[in-house]
């Protein structure tokens, strides 16, 4: 039902219907900002990149052929907007520097978990994941967000980023391993000792 509604908005917006496009903005703004807040260095940049992406979407809609889903197409624009911003401001970060955590986790942690203790643990883990994500390279961070937060398949991620699926695979593998190592290092994971050692080396 929702999909049909979305498709209708896309069709209408493509014809120049601004209110239909506004519905799409409302539908996707959280997901778009979720990506940009983690790709950009500060909230102002994140907002700018998100706005840029929506504007590109509006202007590019006549050329949106529906080969990919609207969301995949939109995320591609978001990804491009983030990269443009990073490039423009010369902020492209280098590989896994642990010194990047100068910003707070910007996403408010609200947790549906039942028990207070579980809730606290999960909140702590989430916070550490945020910190761990910031320790990754933008490329690795981006694939993990697209995979875990936006639940895109490898194929969809490859469409979003314009890279082949093999690259997506290896980025996910490396990104996840690094994130895991970060969490092992921060004491958030307590895996069986044997595997802990083995994986830390990976």
């Amino acid at each position: 039902m929702m999909e049909r509604q979305e498709q209708q908005w896309v069709d209408d917006a493509r014809q120049g219907d601004q209110s239909a496009f506004e519905q799409l903005v409302k539908l996707y703004e959280k997901r778009v900002l979720a990506l940009t807040t983690r790709m950009c260095k500060n909230p102002a940049d994140a907002e700018e990149a998100a706005q840029e992406a929506f504007l590109s979407a509006w202007q590019g809609l006549p050329f949106f052929r529906g080969d990919a889903s609207f969301s995949t197409w939109l995320y591609r624009l978001v990804s491009n907007a983030c990269v443009d911003l990073l490039r423009r401001e010369g902020r492209r970060q280098n590989a896994a520097g642990p010194s990047l955590n100068d910003e707070e986790a910007r996403v408010e942690v609200r947790d549906p978990a039942p028990s207070p203790q579980e809730r606290a643990e999960q909140a702590e883990l989430r916070e550490q994941i945020e910190a761990g994500l910031q320790s990754l390279t933008p490329d690795h961070r981006q694939v993990l967000i697209l995979r875990e937060m936006h639940q895109l398949s490898y194929d969809e991620i490859s469409q979003v980023l314009g890279v082949d699926v093999g690259t997506v695979k290896s980025r996910i593998n490396r990104g996840r391993k690094q994130l895991r190592n970060f969490l092992l290092g921060s004491g958030n994971f307590s895996p069986p000792p044997a595997s802990k050692k083995a994986e830390r080396e990976g």
């Binding site: 903005v25 703004e29 900002l33 202007q59 996403v107 942690v109 875990e148 595997s195 083995a198």
Partner: protein, 282 residues
Amino acid sequence: MTNCKAFAALLDLYVDGELSPEEMLRIRDHLDECPACRAYVDDALAIRASFPDAEDTEVPDGFTEAVMTAVRQSGTPAKASRRTPWKKILLPLAACFAVAVLVLPLRDLLSGGAKTESAASLAAMDTAVAESAAVEEPAAEEAPAALEQGALKSAGTTAEDASPQEKKAIDLYETAGTEAQDGGSAEPAAGQALEEAPAMAAYSGSLLPCATVTLPPEGLQLDLLAGRTPDRESEGQAEFDLTAQEYDTLLAQLDESGLDYTAQETADGNSGLVLVIVKTAN
């Protein structure tokens, strides 16, 4: 352990559901007996379970409004309206095409042929014009003659010098080339011009894409051209060499202004340079 390594490469695919059912089962079996791989998968799933949720993202106050304001300022999707006239115009304005592309070399020819700015791309036109210029009398017999008439008309300065016969042909051409203000007499002329279009196409292969813009007598502000010096200038018209991108921008401006203009894409549309001729209506 080597066995484990082979599996390790597949663990992410397993976690992400990117394997076939058979492969999934194979990994499951392996996980039962390998604590290291199991720990990796468990941790990957734990990360997923606690991964920040997009729905928890805070949308800054006024974000939607800011986006929509930007959208409104950008108007309707610009690129769409920018493309449409470009394509729609092709056939009906084949006659205008001759005006636009030939004005340049003939004017050069008349003023001594010294200007060679776009020599390479205009070489074919030069040839055509030289040919037609050499044919002094019986005009209006072949395609080059029609080209010549268009060029003469556009060159403006030559009208007084033209023989009566030529003048007649020019008038004919003028009717065909412009927007057929008086319907009756325009029809045969337009037909003639269109018939000759294939002959023109033979020349167009090496020509630049171009547009002819006729400004109203009171003039019009064209942002892009306002700050530019014409690359070539003659009575009543100015010519600008633009990059393809500038051209695109200009067409968008023209669309917004509601001004009549003609645009033509030639076979050589990839040269990156386009020519815009601005004329002032009388």
